[in-house]
């Protein structure tokens, strides 16, 4: 095989960097706006460099009516979604990974098919039901719908996490004196933990980002995206940009934490 030519290298780096800029520049720009003075939004022309940094815009957003309450609701919803999805999804994923039983492929297929149901189908009728049950306009209602949305994802991810742990290991533990349960707890669980944590954090992001169901199912107990989208048309531009940045930042941090597991997670769940 011939060695790589420098022309190829230059083209590769040019393309790679151009695409990286395409991804990163918009994030930089909204960050720039979020940390510029409020009126900078309307200034014309204005610099592309962070020449006048200010927390004024962010402070305005954070102290605006409802922001903190909505943030709190978002966190509660996302945490509840994360925990519930994991409690329900991890055992199912484990079963798909470890056991052969009649209809296993049908179950897998059925889980995939649930992705076909749009949020509108889930949330609009449920809103009616939740009103009757008195659950409407609570974080729990939103979290339940978010769990329904995230559960297929969590099941398939945990299945792939457990599939990646050889069955032999648990069996070896059983020949060395473990019961099936203690073999799972001592061997598979510790090995699966990083993958499960990554799946859990990604579930958190999914819920944190979801807006349709949250906006349908709440009235006063808004989550952050639901709050932002419902006040969008009445709010000034700098409020929207600060809100955009405020929603992006935590998700970015979480993504950074789980980046090692990202491709593993998605790759297998895409099947």
């Amino acid at each position: 095989m011939k060695g790589r030519s420098w022309v190829g290298d230059v083209l590769w780096y040019a393309g790679a960097i151009a695409l990286a800029l395409w991804v990163l520049a918009p994030i930089y720009l909204i960050g720039l706006l979020a940390f510029s003075p409020r009126m900078a939004v309307y200034r014309w022309p204005r610099p592309l460099l962070p020449l006048e940094l200010s927390v004024e815009t962010m402070r305005f957003f954070v102290t605006a009516t409802g922001t903190l309450a909505a943030t709190w609701n978002s966190i509660v919803v996302a945490l509840f979604t994360m925990i519930l999805s994991l409690i329900l999804g991890a055992p199912a994923g484990y079963a798909l990974a470890r056991f052969f039983f009649p209809g296993r492929e049908a179950v897998r297929m059925g889980i995939l098919m649930t992705r076909m149901f749009p949020m509108a189908i889930l949330s609009i009728p449920l809103a009616v039901t939740f009103i009757r049950m008195g659950l409407y306009d609570t974080p729990w209602a939103v979290a339940l719908v978010h769990t329904a949305m995230a559960l297929p994802f969590v099941i398939l991810i945990t299945a792939s996490v457990f599939t990646a742990i050889p069955r032999d290991l648990e069996e070896a533990a059983m020949t060395l004196g473990c019961s099936p349960l203690s073999a799972f707890l001592r061997i598979s669980l510790p090995l699966a933990l990083p993958g499960l944590a990554a799946a859990a954090l990604f579930t958190f992001v999914i819920s944190w980002n979801e807006v349709f169901a949250a906006a349908i199912l709440t009235l006063r107990q808004r989550t952050l995206p639901a709050l932002v989208i419902t006040v969008l048309n009445e709010s000034p531009l700098y409020f929207r940009f600060a809100g955009g940045f405020f929603m992006v930042a935590p998700a970015l941090v979480i993504l950074l934490i789980i980046r090692r597991y990202l491709f593993h997670l998605w790759g297998v769940s895409g099947r």
Binding site: M1, W12, Y13, G15, A16, L19, A20, W22, V23, L24, P26, I27, L33, V41, W44, P45, R46, L88, A92, Y94, L96, F99, P102, T114, M116, P118, M119, A120, I121, S123, I124, P125, L126, A127, T129, L144, M174, P180, V205, V211, F212, A215, I216, P225, I229, T230, L232, L237, R240, F241, G244, A251, L252, I254, L255, L262, F263, W266, G267, G270
Partner: protein, 288 residues
């Protein structure tokens, strides 16, 4: 493995049951309820009134048309972008891993946030105009997102979605590529294939299972495009999901909203079926 009493399928069943019950409850039951809502009038009697109101609404056809146009524009762009990113990130050159993470960043960004990010660029005093002015190409700001020109909003939505959701396609493709790129790529190289030929005859055919998965997921989500459209266009550009939202939240009419939801579901089901047919992967092609 137990003491020979419980049948072997009992444990997996017990592990699957809670999730299955939950999903049945929160997906099957709402679906049935959606049917009930959509086929009953507000007074409670069974009728086609919600559908009649939906279809006769002046925004229905534009919403349907816009949704389909968005899908037709966004999906091919995402596919090409994602494949390019995936191929770049799978190179053995230094820094490939870094670029892979960078390209995956939009995974964390919501539709709403993406809409707001691109609003900061496309709005009248936004960064696109700032840059164009800086280059000396314009004197006064150009209005991209105007009430009179829904096409401008539509294109902005395409850009924002291509920016945000390409990552999902890319990550799905990366997993499939990892298996292909090693030996097959080199084999094609040994037999003298150039870059385009390698992609055309080796990567794309072998990537079909991943492509199928990525396409299905992306299209299903694209039918639900909502927040990005609201963020960039206010109410100017109707799409199916935003109409469902407006009928429920604005008009307090869950019946018509449910009818819209059913339209989305039916379209989703049809597309999934189409993809499964068109990109059919025969088991023997998987080489397992």
């Amino acid at each position: 493995m137990g003491n020979g009493k419980a049948p072997e399928w009992l444990l997996p069943l017990a592990l699957l049951a809670p999730a299955a019950l939950f999903l049945t409850f929160f997906i099957a039951i709402p679906s049935v309820q959606a049917l009930q809502l959509a086929f009953h009038s507000s007074s409670g009697s069974g009728s086609l009134e919600p559908f009649r109101r939906m279809v006769s609404d002046t925004r229905f056809l534009p919403a349907l048309r816009n949704t389909l146009i968005l899908i037709a524009l966004i999906i091919p762009i995402q596919l090409v972008l994602a494949l390019t990113m995936a191929l770049i990130a799978q190179s053995r050159r230094r820094g490939a891993g870094f670029f892979l993470y960078v390209y995956a960043i939009p995974l964390a960004i919501s539709e709403l946030a993406a809409g707001l990010v691109w609003l900061a660029i496309f709005t009248e005093r936004g960064y696109l105009n700032v840059i164009l002015h800086g280059l000396g190409w314009i004197q006064r700001p150009v209005i991209f997102l105007s009430y009179e020109r829904p096409l401008g909003i539509l294109l902005a939505v395409v850009v924002a979605e291509a920016w945000r959701a390409t990552a999902i396609v890319m990550v799905t493709l990366v997993a499939g590529l990892q298996m292909i790129l090693g030996e097959y790529w080199e084999a094609a190289e040994v037999f003298g294939a150039n870059l385009i030929q390698k992609i055309r005859y080796v990567v794309l055919p072998l990537l079909r299972p991943s492509l199928q998965a990525a396409l299905i997921i992306r299209t299903l989500f694209a039918f639900q495009t909502f927040a990005v459209v609201v963020a960039l266009g206010g109410g100017v550009l109707p799409v199916l999901a935003s109409e469902a939202y407006n009928w429920y939240v604005g008009a307090h009419n869950p019946h018509v909203a449910a009818a819209y939801a059913l339209v989305i579901l039916v379209l989703s089901a049809i597309t999934t079926g189409l993809y499964l047919r068109l990109l059919r992967v025969r088991p023997e092609e998987l080489g397992r």
